[in-house]
């Protein structure tokens, strides 16, 4: 009733409904799933789509016609038919070079661009001969979230807080911030995911004390130790592995399934995609069941049933899960906290739904972990709170977030040794200054090599950037005095400045990862996207509606062919007419029209679909395997040209 009343209110009224919302949003850009949340009337809330779903699958499909589809459609339908053109888990590639990606390439359906020229950044080769960077793929996901938020807030956004794994290095943070800019967002802050979770948790539950946040997502593992006291959220230490998550469980399971399945071709992208999907499906089923199976077409015309018990799965993934232990240990040691002395352990991330993971956490910390706030949403909710505070939302004046640098930052010195200027777990923002000198007579330039990591040798740290300070007058060795300043801002991003003191020669850079994109490249992408921004949104909605329409049309046709005897008088004509309507709308470029036509078709074919399902179920009781019934019911030809 209230809703209906709202709808007939004066247009001006709806403004007041939005008045208590700040226009800044929190975004959890996840490996597997992404969400956007706002603070509405003082409460953080995740924004949902028409069907009430808050989650946007972090999967991006690039069509041959230049269209882009993001979300569940891309994951469930297009990834199966176009594995190479449908990028999932792109977060694992953020800020990474082709050599870094090698490790995650063991079992992947993607093709990497082998173009000449700039080989310093990963590029996926997708349909239409395009090569896209992880940054661009992420920006597509962010655009969908932005569109959702703009619709909910009925207007443009004031800014966004985007979350990143606490253990992301400088290059990965930069890539994330640039993806936000490319998606047309003003990035107010990059917020560490465990900190976001603690913020949502602490404010909601009024928690005080020292907490551990155990965040195991699709592709990253973070642990943060925080002290919560009088509104101050102080990160004591953080640790993790930016390449460890549910994906690795899937891959390990998939590798075992492939090894068991005779004649499966691990070099076929379709097979790889299907086995990875099967592994994920089995893993999810085994959260509640003790054994599960899925049917997978591993070779043309041949369906294989893959079975797995929970104990088999747990044996497979336990070695992967054990990789959490060293970072946990180090984070506690760095925080100076004993494992038994924590007030609580907060679970974050989809992978913490697995009973095995919960058991591991409970055993490790010696206490039952807390999961009162949906582990899939808690990060986005925390980000929304932070966005609200940054944009000047009322009511959080006493709240203070103190976060830290996850990995030490330093410079290469003589002999390839890394000299640390800023140590890990230093509270941000922070700075450091150090003086270096020349080692050769008449040396006129300094080569600076900025590195991040805990190891002594530069070769074992991550190379962030190289730059040169030139124009130093020739002097005897050791006379020049080079002062280098490091500054890490509240986003955890590093800026480096160098100055030769005797001459005043200066050089300063915002560190760009050696393997990343230059500012110019990002700027060009942003300009290009401005030119197409409006078109892009329309094109996307249109592409999505078309894909959905194609699926439903194909399903309806297949159903009528399969069970014509179930059609009642006039029903075929009605459905045919609705089908024509969909096709006509599909040929146009109005996504609203397509949606309406699809709904009409759905309406016209519903009684028939119900009869068909009832019959299938009856047949099921007469001895057919329920799995096979499910298979027929789900037999939806896939996408354009799928038949």
């Amino acid at each position: 009733m209230a809703d209906a009343l709202f709808q007939i209110a004066e247009p001006g009224e709806s403004r007041s409904k939005h008045a208590c919302r700040t226009r800044a949003v929190g975004i959890d850009l996840g490996t597997t799933n992404s969400l956007v949340a706002i603070v509405d009337a003082g409460k953080p809330t995740a924004l949902t789509d028409e069907s009430g779903d808050a989650i946007v699958a972090s999967v991006v499909h690039y069509g041959a016609g230049g269209d882009v589809v993001v979300g569940a459609d891309a994951r469930d339908r297009l990834a199966v038919d176009f594995p190479r053109d449908t990028i999932a888990s792109v977060k694992r590639f953020m800020g990474r070079g082709p050599r870094d990606a090698e490790a995650t390439r063991k079992l992947t359906p993607y093709q990497f661009f082998q173009g000449a020229g700039d080989q310093s950044v990963v590029r996926f080769a997708v349909a239409g001969g395009r090569a896209v960077t992880p940054l661009e793929v992420s920006a597509e996901i962010l655009r969908v979230l932005r569109a959702r938020a703009e619709e909910a807030l009925a207007g443009p956004l004031a800014g966004a807080v985007i979350t990143v794994p606490a253990y992301f290095d400088d290059g990965q943070r930069q890539a994330t911030r640039d993806a936000g800019r490319l998606a047309g967002l003003e990035v107010l802050r990059l917020l560490n995911e465990p900190t976001a979770a603690a913020l949502a948790y602490g404010l909601d539950k009024q928690a005080e004390g020292t907490f551990a946040v155990f965040d195991l997502g699709g592709g990253t593992f973070d642990v943060s130790i925080l002290k919560l006291e009088n509104g101050v959220f102080e990160v004591k230490s953080t640790g993790g592995d930016s390449a460890l998550g549910g994906d690795d469980f899937d891959r390990t399971i998939a590798e075992a399934l492939l090894a068991r399945a005779d004649g499966a071709d691990a070099s076929d992208a379709h097979v790889v995609r299907r086995v990875l999907d099967a592994a994920r499906a089995l893993k999810e089923k085994l959260t509640t069941e003790s054994e599960a199976s899925v049917d997978v077409a591993l070779a043309p015309g041949k369906t294989t049933t893959l079975r797995l018990t929970r104990s088999e799965m747990e044996a497979l993934v336990t070695p992967v899960l054990q990789r959490c232990a060293p970072p946990l240990k180090r984070a506690l040691a760095d925080a100076g906290v004993e494992r038994g002395h924590l007030s609580g352990v907060i679970l974050v991330g989809g992978a913490t739904r697995m009973p095995l993971v919960r058991r591991f956490v409970e055993e490790w910390f010696g206490q039952k972990p807390l999961a009162d706030i949906d582990p899939d949403q808690v990060v986005a909710l925390g980000a929304a709170i932070q966005a609200d505070m940054l944009a000047g939302g009322a009511g959080h004046d006493d709240v203070l977030l103190l976060d830290v640098v996850p990995l030490s930052l330093g410079l290469e010195t003589m002999g390839g040794v890394a000299e640390k200027l800023i140590h890990r777990n230093t509270t941000v923002p922070c700075g450091a200054r150090q003086t270096f000198t020349t080692f050769a007579d008449k040396q006129t330039g300094f080569d600076l090599h900025v590195v991040q990591g805990e190891r002594e040798l530069v070769s074992e740290c991550r190379s962030l950037a190289r730059f040169t300070l030139k124009g130093i007058p020739p002097m005897p060795a050791g006379m020049a005095r080079l002062e280098v300043t490091f500054m890490v801002d509240a986003d955890g991003i590093l800026r480096v400045a160098a100055r030769e003191e005797t001459t005043g020669q200066e050089a300063s850079i915002e560190v760009k990862p050696s393997y990343g994109l230059t500012d110019d490249e990002v700027e060009k992408m942003i300009l290009d996207s401005f030119a197409h921004a409006e078109d892009d949104v329309k094109a996307r909605l249109l592409a999505e509606q078309r894909v959905e329409a194609d699926g439903i049309v194909a399903a309806a046709r297949a159903a009528m062919q399969d069970a014509p005897e179930l059609l009642e008088d006039g029903e075929r004509e009605a459905i045919d007419a609705a089908l024509k309507g969909v096709e006509a709308a599909r040929a146009g470029s109005d996504h609203h029209a397509i949606r309406q036509a699809v709904e009409a078709l759905d309406h016209a074919s519903k009684p028939f679909a119900t009869r068909r399902m009832n019959r299938a179920l009856e047949q099921g009781f007469r001895g057919r395997a329920v799995d096979a019934v499910d298979a027929t019911l789900n037999e939806t030809p896939r996408g354009p040209g799928g038949r």
């Binding site: 232990a325 203070l400 977030l401 923002p429 700075g431 000198t437 050791g478 500054m487």
Partner: protein
């Protein structure tokens, strides 16, 4: 200080006395003074921490996310200085090093650039006899680790921890006594650094498995 925003006298606080705009910090400010504490080793940590947090609430970049660039820069620089001050003061070793540095004694473990001699600092080195003792202890520890003698490693570490604690106490007393005590404090601080390295060795990686 003249306020960047209203061009009037800004006063001594972080915020301009006239218009309330956030002022950039004085880069040369004493880190104890930044937290309103007297410069001595026996510091009131609880008072320093609450000053740190109260000031952070006022100047943190989160409070200036949508402010104009100049205020944002001031906020960043202020917070960097605050964080630096609290990091220095809360840790006894860094606090001692800083107190010595203020007095012109450099015990930093970084090699000075040639030319640093021109500054009024002088460096303190460990006496050779001490170095020999530490070397021998290190050898003994390595041998115990190689032999997998966990009991001995733990025993040596415990002895060293006690020694480090005692040394820290001496350093604190010497620092606050002033005068010739500063030289003693500096030497003890150098020794302490070797103890710490020894302890890192003792608890080093690969010692006790993964869990």
């Amino acid at each position: 200080m003249i306020c960047w925003s209203c061009q009037r006298g800004a006063g001594a606080g972080p915020l301009c006395a006239a218009c309330g705009a956030l002022q950039p910090p004085d880069d040369a400010a004493d880190l104890f003074g930044v937290l309103g504490q007297p410069a001595r080793f026996a510091v009131d940590l609880a008072a320093a921490e609450s000053a740190y947090k109260d000031l952070s609430r006022q100047v943190h970049p989160d409070r200036f996310a949508t402010a104009d660039p100049q205020a944002r820069r001031a906020s960043l620089a202020r917070t960097v200085q605050l964080n630096q001050a609290w990091r220095t003061i809360k840790d006894p070793v860094r606090r001692a090093e800083y107190l010595l540095l203020r007095a012109g004694i450099d015990v930093g473990d970084k090699k000075p650039a040639p030319g640093d001699e021109t500054k009024a600092t002088h460096r303190v080195a460990a006496p050779p006899a001490f170095l020999i003792e530490i070397l021998e202890l290190n050898d003994e520890l390595s041998a115990a680790k190689r032999a997998g003698d966990a009991v001995k490693v733990a025993f040596m570490a415990e002895e060293m921890r006690t020694r480090a604690r005692e040394t820290m106490k001496t350093i604190g007393q010497a620092l606050d006594a002033g005068g010739g005590g500063l030289e003693d404090a500096a030497r003890s601080l150098v020794a302490l650094r070797y103890y710490q390295r020894f302890l890192d060795q003792a608890s080093g990686e690969g010692g006790d498995g993964t869990l």
